[in-house]
């Protein structure tokens, strides 16, 4: 039967999901054969891929910790993926149980899994929405129920912006989100970059791997990502390789040369 265009997508676990591939890089088992095959192809192309994912995850942890310690109590994590270890709500609620977290992902399996993980947590929830439709995210009843946009909110767009090509107008997405935020809010972003990595053919190979997944890869330079922080004041040290962002020890920053993710945190003044 020809599926009419008003019908929602079904779940196809034969098609690699970037959320589950990421889980595999992090050492999780929340993935299926197709995800693992694609992730292994990626590791072949870019052997550091798992390390990159770990470094990015560590950046997320440090960023949330920093924000919670700076007094932020509300988090909107867009592109949250498969909740595996060290989720935003775990980190934030350990610092203050009152912290409220809304996870957003477009992958229905990731959302179903998150829902199960979050069952019973009154201050954390998950919705299925697309980063490319920020107005719908902001208007979602779960979002408006849990988050008070008159108070600072930290918007996390971590390791997901490289699935949003320029054609999807990321600057407009961010403008929409920014317009909803109160002064004192934060924006956390990281994404894949090939700045300083030279011409190794990795990028083409990585893009080829992701062509067969549910999302296409869109690499950005540090300058491009910095530009997307428009309207926010970048917190020191700005947009850097993620291991260099406020490392807990000098050794942690050593891997910077091998990093593939760049990231930063911006604050909305006012």
């Amino acid at each position: 039967m020809q599926r009419p265009d008003w019908a929602p997508d079904t779940i196809d676990i034969e098609r690699p999901s970037v959320a589950r591939m990421y889980d595999y890089y992090l050492g999780g088992s929340h993935n299926f054969a197709a995800d693992r095959a694609a992730a292994r192809a990626m590791v072949e192309a870019v052997p550091e891929a798992p390390l990159m994912a770990q470094a990015n995850r560590a950046f997320l942890r440090r960023a949330v910790q920093f924000l919670a310690e700076s007094g932020v109590r509300q988090f909107l994590d867009i592109g949250s993926g498969i909740p595996t270890v060290g989720n935003v709500h775990e980190i934030a609620q350990r610092i203050d149980p009152e912290c409220r977290v809304v996870y957003v992902d477009v992958d229905p399996v990731a959302v179903a899994h998150s829902r199960e993980i979050l069952a019973g947590n009154e201050r954390a929830t998950v919705i299925q929405e697309d980063l490319r439709r920020p107005a719908e995210i902001l208007a979602h009843p779960e979002v408006t129920r849990l988050l008070d946009f008159d108070q600072p909110v930290a918007v996390m767009i971590v390791a997901v912006l490289h699935f949003v090509p320029d054609a999807d107008r990321p600057e407009e997405i961010l403008r929409t989100l920014r317009a909803a935020l109160a002064p004192g809010s934060y924006l956390v972003m990281s994404q894949a970059s090939d700045d300083d990595r030279g011409e190794t053919g990795e990028r083409a190979e990585a893009e080829r791997v992701y062509r067969h997944t549910d999302s296409q890869l869109w690499i950005r330079s540090r300058a491009e990502l910095s530009a997307l922080f428009a309207g926010f004041e970048l917190i020191d040290p700005g947009v850097v390789w993620v291991p260099q962002w406020r490392p807990e020890s000098p050794e942690q920053a050593e891997d910077a040369a091998k990093a593939v993710f760049i990231g930063g945190v911006g604050r909305l003044g006012g």
């Binding site: 008003w6 088992s29 929340h30 060290g86 229905p108 891997d255």
Partner: protein
């Protein structure tokens, strides 16, 4: 032993730091380096205890392995490096002393690896199970959403958005099922009477609200019977498994009663009535299309009978109507095949018996039905608009034939042609007539156009102007059947009418003896008409003159001409042209 006891839990020793360094990067560790070192420092104490325990305790090593996995140091590399660092450094860094230390180390590593592998396997299985459950839940959710949107789509496709009643699609489906599943079936076609008036006077919004209200009342009154809205103010009711016509009639009566309840619509109290066409018949051999069509035509009978009633389908009547319809549909082909021809009836002067003119009367030589007179097909042609083509043919043929009538002394009769209202309203009438006259060479004065009073009444300004142009050309304009309509004298003043043809009804009265009071009245009316017409310089022709007495009395009144059996029945032109005035039967 010195370091193990002195290290405590707060300050990681060299071994714990080395261990932390070895495992970092083997998998994602959701903790700071300090937290990791603290954790491993604690586990270092457990390992030291295990290696020295007496007797050797298998459980400690296994627990350490499991705890590593729980702390997310959970990868093959994590285990490999752990084994390596314990083997290489534990005894040395902690200064442990035991007799059989190598033996104990081997057993310790075995237990750690066992506990680790077991925990990792459990964790893997748990995660696989949880992601599969999530995929299943997501799939169920997607399928539910699909079903819901399909149901919504199906509802939209099968229901009328205004009233939420089933629409034609659903009704036809249910009707087909009813036909397949029962011996008899009934359909009631319902249409509101004069609904257009509500729309026109109160607006479409009120009209729509009224339809919603009618839909609600029908649904409430008819309970189990399916009520659908076909569009506009048309509803249809399915009466399943009827035992006979009475079952359908009962439903129709309930529907009429429900519709006629007064309804308050947006502050207006509206009372409407409806007409219903009922078809109830055995299911075998019928189809939804046929039933709907039959119910629809039956509805029109109820409407034609005045509305606020039901009618039952009558096969004979339907056959007649179908035959009539088939006849009208055959007109274009019959025109192409030349099946039409003209007969003529003379308009005879009452003064000298001369044939002044001849009225063209169309005939259809139907290949199966024989010669048909206009009353069997003109009405249909008017309803279907075919009258325009047929009328144009009649006009052209009459002009062509009239041109051939010998005009020896300039007294050849004019030809009188009936024009239907649609012909008069057509914008091209003037050009058509002018072109015909030019082509045939017929002098304009030898063409008379007959239009009825009702045509005049329903005619707008533009066609009146066209008639005036034609009159100016010299074409004669006659009012046909005068006296049966409104007898509006205004157009006699406004239009260059040349002749009034007085309807046969008045002439019929003249058959009675002259002293009969009714007859006297008709005679006086006719006399007044004649004198009025003459005052307006309009001649008068009496129609339906059948006897010499009638002719004589009309002549006495001053009537100019007469038409009727007494002066000649319709027939070929030749037969009237050959006839001498003496033979026409007038007493002149």
């Amino acid at each position: 032993m010195a370091e193990s006891s002195g290290a405590g839990r707060s300050c990681p020793g060299a071994f714990a730091r080395a261990w932390a360094k070895a495992v970092s990067g083997t998998s994602y560790l959701p903790m700071t380096q300090a937290q990791l070192e603290a954790l491993l420092q604690r586990l270092t104490g457990r390992l030291a205890a295990a290696i020295q325990s007496e007797p050797f305790d298998l459980r400690i090593g296994q627990q350490v392995g499991a705890e590593l996995v729980q702390a997310h140091i959970a990868s093959a590399e994590g285990l490999g490096r752990t084994v390596e660092v314990i083997q290489l450094r534990l005894v040395r860094d902690l200064g442990l002393v035991a007799d059989d230390v190598e033996d104990r180390m081997a057993r310790l590593l075995a237990t750690v690896a066992t506990g680790y592998a077991r925990a990792l396997r459990d964790r893997t299985l748990d995660e696989q199970e949880s992601i599969r459950r999530a995929a299943m839940m997501a799939r169920a959710q997607a399928e539910r959403a699909l079903r819901e949107s399909e149901a919504r789509f199906r509802h939209q496709a099968t229901h009328d958005p205004l009233t939420d009643l089933p629409n034609r699609t659903l009704f036809t489906e249910r009707l087909a099922a009813a036909i397949a599943g029962a011996d008899r079936v009934g359909v009631c076609f319902l249409d509101l009477d004069r609904f257009k008036v509500v729309n026109d006077s109160l607006g479409h919004q009120i009209g729509d609200l009224l339809l919603v209200s009618v839909a609600q009342r029908l649904r409430r009154a008819l309970g189990e019977h399916l009520v659908a809205r076909l569009g506009g103010d048309e509803f249809v009711i399915l009466v399943e498994s009827t035992a006979g016509t009475d079952d359908a009639v009962r439903v129709a009566e309930a529907a009429l009663a429900a519709v006629s309840e007064p309804a308050l619509v947006d502050g207006h109290e509206l009372t409407v009535s409806a007409s219903i066409g009922i078809v109830e018949r055995p299911a075998a051999g019928t189809s939804p299309m046929e039933l709907m069509r039959a119910a629809d035509s039956t509805l029109h009978w109820a409407k034609a009978a005045g509305g606020a009633r039901w009618s039952i389908f009558d096969a004979d009547r339907n056959r007649r109507e179908l035959a009539r319809y088939a006849l009208s549909a055959a007109i274009p082909a019959a025109l192409d095949r030349g099946e039409f021809y003209l007969d003529y009836q003379p308009l005879t002067s009452l003064r000298d018996g001369r044939v002044l003119g001849m009225e063209a009367l169309v005939r259809w030589r139907h290949p199966e039905l024989g010669v048909l007179r206009p009353d069997s097909f003109i009405g249909l042609a008017e309803e279907t608009g075919l009258i325009v083509r047929l009328g144009a043919w009649v006009l052209a043929e009459a002009c062509r034939e009239a041109r051939g009538w010998a005009d020896v002394a300039g007294d050849a009769p004019f030809v009188s042609v009936n024009l239907a209202v649609q012909q008069v309203r057509r914008p091209g009438l003037v050009d058509e007539v002018r072109d015909l006259l030019r082509r045939t060479g017929l002098p304009p004065g030898r063409l008379q156009l007959e239009i009825t009073e009702s045509t005049m009444m329903s005619t707008a300004e533009e066609p009146v102007r066209a008639l005036r142009v034609l009159a100016d050309l010299g074409v004669r304009i006659a009012i046909d059947d005068f006296g049966t309509g409104y007898c509006n004298l205004a157009y006699l003043r406004d239009l260059p009418v040349t002749e009034l043809k007085v309807a046969g009804e008045f002439v019929t009265g003249l058959r009675a003896p002259a002293d009969d009071p009714a007859s006297r009245t008709d005679e006086r009316i006719l006399a007044s008409l004649v004198s009025l017409a003459h005052a307006l310089k309009v001649t008068v022709t009496a129609e339906g003159v059948e006897t010499a007495e009638q002719a004589e009395r009309l002549r006495a009144i001053g009537c100019d001409a007469a038409q009727g059996w007494h002066f000649g029945r319709p027939g070929p032109a030749r037969q009237h042209l050959d006839r001498s005035p003496a033979l026409t039967g007038t007493t002149v």
